[in-house]
Subunit: 129 residues, 2 copies
């Protein structure tokens, strides 16, 4: 059994975040010690690591909730999981495109700017029009 600090170390998550996940019932401790300390078993440690990974993959907390359900449920079909992942991939692709065109526009504006002491600035002009 791990106290919250030990769980934090074991999962590479901030203590505050582990407590937060408990508060929102995402990953709840398996129990409490006599003095009221949260106690985590190996099972919860794994769920916390799973959550950290999923979060770093950009899954929202809500999606993590669904994924944890699937992760826990041995009977789940891989189809359910794949649907969530494919959704996420599509979102990432949209965001990539958006960022790319942003990048290109801004780079173009920046390249046409002298970056000197004179006030005439294509970037400002580009943003204004």
């Amino acid at each position: 059994m791990y106290t919250i600090g030990d769980a934090a170390k074991a999962t590479n998550l901030p203590t505050k975040t582990v407590r937060y996940y408990a508060d929102i019932d995402l990953v709840t401790p398996s129990g409490r010690s006599d003095n009221g300390y949260r106690l985590y078993s190996d099972k919860e440690i794994n769920k916390l690591i799973f959550t950290r990974r999923a979060r770093s993959f950009g899954f929202s907390v809500q999606e993590c909730r669904e994924l944890l359900d699937l992760y826990e449920n041995r009977d789940r079909s891989s189809r359910d999981v794949k649907a969530i992942a494919v959704n996420r991939i599509k979102e990432i692709e949209e965001k990539l495109q958006e960022l790319q065109s942003l990048h290109d526009e801004l780079t173009h504006l920046s390249e046409t700017c002298n970056g000197d002491d004179r006030p005439d600035c294509p970037i400002i002009r580009g943003l204004a029009s």
Copy 2:
């Protein structure tokens, strides 16, 4: 002079957002009418449009504040503006790389998943380990 609703239409921003920008002193109305309505002149309309564009380019409100200062100040050097833009481009490039590797990893996981009724799922396994 525009009331807040007219300003919203003219700038293609939600009314709530225009009011919010006034609240945080980003773009303040030039005055108030007798009945207390916010009034915007063409100058503020342009600043609102400028802000909308800059926000859509991913500049933070704080950066918009700086850009608006430069936009207003005829004596500003284009160097100052370019510095902000270059900074932003660097951030975008980092985010692009991050998203790209995320995309590749997730796509890989998804491709190795059958997406059928059986519970064995490489995505779940990939997230857990």
